[in-house]
Structure formats: structure tokens, C-alpha cells
Symmetry: D2
Subunit: 152 residues, 4 copies
């Protein structure tokens, strides 16, 4: 038996609400000042405006900040494809930092590459926005596992 996927059971507005609710439950997203962007079946965007609270020792966005929003965008993208009654956990991810992450904000775009019964594979692009210019700063591959949701 195959359970319907979250994105199959909800219309666009309800899907966004569902992801927004999970996003708002994440203390770290709020603490970093991250905001949920576009939500579509299999694809979620997360924005992170620059702040001095997000930097490494050279004043750039810390790789930890970059990878946090990448992990979040990927996890929520996977969540749109999770079977009914399930939530998601990151199994692992690998991120390449492509360029110094400087600018007014970062945007992470998580895109589901493969949906399995148990595992979802996601790719995440992160770019920096600076003075109207977009620069790729990171590329991630992520493995997500669907687990029964006992919280709802």
C-alpha cells in the first residue's frame, strides 16, 4: 500500500500553511531570522537576511548559517512529499561552499530529486543576493527519512 504524499492531499495554500506551521515551530529558524519563501510540491525556498549574529571570524555568513538554511529548505521540500501521517528527519547531508557567502541575504532552494517509500533525496542550491546580483554560494545533497509523526 502506498500512502498519499502531503502535497497530493493539500491544495497550494494548505500546503504552504502546513510548512509554515512546521517552520514556525523551529526555534532555530526564528533565532537566525530566517523566513519561509516559496513552497511548491517538492520545492521550498528559505531566506536569510544578513546580520552580524550570523558571521564567522572574517565577517562572512558562517558556513553553519548557510548549511542550516540549506538543511531546512531541503527538509521542508522533502516534507511536501512525505507520506500522510509522517514527518521527516535529516539522515545526512553534504555541502560544498562554492564562494565566500557575503551579501544582503542568502536564499536556499531545496528541490526533491527522488522520492522513495522511506528515503527522499534532495538537492539544495544556496545563493547570495548582493546589490541586485546573485552569486551561487553553496550546493548540497541531502538524504531525508520519513518517520511516523507522533506529535500531531
Amino acid at each position: 500500500m502506498t500512502l498519499p504524499r502531503t502535497a497530493d492531499t493539500l491544495d497550494a495554500a494548505a500546503l504552504r500553511d502546513r510548512i509554515q506551521t512546521l517552520f514556525d515551530r523551529s526555534g532555530l529558524m526564528r533565532h537566525l531570522g530566517a523566513r519561509l519563501g516559496e513552497v511548491a510540491p517538492g520545492r521550498v525556498h528559505v531566506h536569510l537576511p544578513f546580520a552580524p549574529t550570523l558571521t564567522q571570524h572574517l565577517g562572512l555568513f558562517h558556513a553553519g548559517a548557510t548549511s542550516t538554511i540549506a538543511d531546512a529548505a531541503g527538509g521542508f521540500a522533502a516534507m511536501t512529499q512525505a507520506p500522510d501521517g509522517h514527518t521527516v528527519l535529516s539522515v545526512e547531508f553534504k555541502i560544498n561552499l562554492l564562494a565566500p557567502a557575503r551579501g544582503e541575504s542568502l536564499e536556499a532552494i531545496g528541490q526533491v530529486i527522488r522520492t522513495g517509500r522511506t528515503l527522499t533525496i534532495v538537492q539544495v542550491d544556496v545563493h547570495a543576493l548582493n546589490a541586485g546580483k546573485t552569486t551561487p554560494v553553496a550546493l548540497m545533497q541531502q538524504t531525508i527519512i520519513n518517520v511516523p509523526d507522533r506529535t500531531s
Copy 2:
């Protein structure tokens, strides 16, 4: 010509001061409440006490928080081996989340595996401390590049 490594030119106290200075310049470390632990040549510990500002949607430590202190511990471990006049940047890392990260605090231990002229390879273990018990929660492999330090 091979430049001396940071850890070769400084005694234990000076090495710790050097890393503490860099740690204190990182806005994200302070914002998350992370603290620098042990510092030795090729090995650095970072602690992260639990706070509701560090959680994902289920109330556990967010994978982004776990990977941020892992990236920091690894980067500072590599920094102890950087050639004189150089600083370090993360090229990439890969992290497996081994178990739900819950507890009073996390500790990340970065250990240099190989020191090259340009690249340093680091392994990072993260464990959770909970009621006197230690649980491994993440394992990272990280690639670091030495770059000339233009800030000092």
C-alpha cells in the same frame, strides 16, 4: 619552502588564546551560545548548551545547530595546523546525523586527519550529554583550505 604551522609557533596557552580570539569574532558562535572547550594541536572542542532557540520542529537540536558547531570545531582544529600567516575556510563537509540530538548540551570534537600544504582533512564527532550519559549524535568529514590571512 614549508611554513611552520600555527601550533608549532605557539605554546599551549598562546594557541588557546589565538583560537579563542577567532571564536569570539564569530557572531554566530555567540548568537547560538556556543563555547570553546579544549584546544590542542589538531584538536578543538566546542560546546553548545541546549536552548529553545536551537530547535527544529520536533523540539530537538536542529541539524543546522549540530552541523554549525561541528563545522566550527573542525575549522578551528584545522586552524591550529594552518601555515603561518594563513586563515582557513570550509571547502565542504558531510555530516551523518546518527541519533536524535536531545540533551542538556552537545559537544563537537574536531580532529585533524591529514594536513597538506593547501588542504586539511578533519573528522568531527558530536555527542549529546543527557543526565550524565553521552550519546553520539553526528559524525562529520570536512575539507578545509588554507588561505592567506589579510585581516591581521
Copy 3:
């Protein structure tokens, strides 16, 4: 219900036989000239004697050869911990090539780090043997999934 693990149901000789049988079914292991080494619960060694058929363009062991025996050692290590009636597949792996892989042979040692119901996390070290000297050449983190075995 938790199924017993392969290594719990077999004594040392039977465990080795089980892994040897799977090893011998792998056409690629034979084609490369790889040999099964030590087998213990959660740990498997694979050896690869040098041959000109295993090289990259500079005459060193090809990273593909290194990662093939690493993947095999890790997969078989996970297999010793697979639940009864299950076999294993690689979900993903990440490998750092630490040094040029030259020498008389390579040895990959796969060691299970964490055993879950569905996923097993493995770490693999590969070193080269050359004139009595051992050099680490690669380090791998690998995620393995247990799947029902329909072949036996």
C-alpha cells in the same frame, strides 16, 4: 519486534562463510582481483593487490578502485548487522582521498558506527601497503539501507 542481526545468529566461521558467499557473487570484486580479509561482527576488511588494470592516468590506484573496495568493505560490515532475512544496499557514501594511492596493495576496513532498524552508518578507512609501510589513503562515511532479501 526486533529481528536478530546476522552476526547474532551465526558463529564466527558461519558469518565469514556468509560474507564470503556474497563476496564471491560480486562480479566486480573478482574482476578487480579484490579479496575478502577479516570478518567480524560490524567489521570487514577487503584487500586489493596493485595491478595496471586498476590505475588512473598517472599510474596510481584510480579513486574508483579505492572507493569500490571501500564501498564493498562498508557494505559487508553492514551486512553482518542486517536483520535476519535482509540484504543491504548503499544509499550514499562520501570519500576523502587523503594521499596518492600507490603501493603493493590497498586494504579497506569497514566499521559499523551505528545500527538502526532501517539504516546502518559505516566508516571505512583505506590504507596503502608499500615496502612494509602503511599509509592512510582514504576515509569514507557511508549510509546503508536494509532491504528484504528476495534472492535466498
Copy 4:
């Protein structure tokens, strides 16, 4: 001073010859029966027809075979962008095995994502061809280092 890239100094036919020459020097490519496909600046294809010598214990393409041609396609793609007088080595790669790799052949397509002075970041897609149908079977992120070529 920035050295010209290999692909800037050679026309299409000469670039292909250059990569074909390196490909032919790789004993492992020949031993596995791999063939060089398309070569363009920043992009290289490698084909691998199925053979029983390439299998794992279930008779599918071994993950080691898949990752070997992925590593090769990525490395040669990076080679097209290497500075004059340089060759390339794999620093590390991470591969997700997306689906069982079965079919008449595999094709790996390496595409350079970012070209730096020292490091090149590559993404590699691998798909299986079976009865006229194409299935994605693997996705890789790879870090390559340029090193002075002392062989030519």
C-alpha cells in the same frame, strides 16, 4: 597571474584528443570497458556497457562501478578547465545511489559547477539506459584539485 584553462587553449577536436589520451592511460577505464563520450568545455560523458564483471551480489551494477565512472566523468570535466600545465586529482566526492542500477549501460555526465584557481567543484549525474528508457541512478558532488603536471 591567471593561467589560461585547457579548454581555452584547444579547439574542440584537440580538447577531445587531450581527454581521450588521458582516458586511454587509465588502466581501470579500459579494464571496466568504459568509453569516453561527449567532451565539451566543463562537461564530459563516460559510458559503461553492462557486463557480469561489473556487478554486486544481486547482479546489479556495483555502486563501485557507478562511482568509478562518475569520478572519471567529473575528473575529466574538471581537466578541461585545469590551468595550463596542470593535471587534476580527486580530493573527495559524495554520491547518492538513487535507484537500483540495472540496464544495458550507464552514462555519467560530469559538469563543472565552479572553477577556482586551486579547486574545481563538479556535479555528476549517472543514468541507466534500459530498453530505450533512461533512469537516473546516481548523483555526485565532487571536489577536484589542480596540481602541476610533471608527466608531460
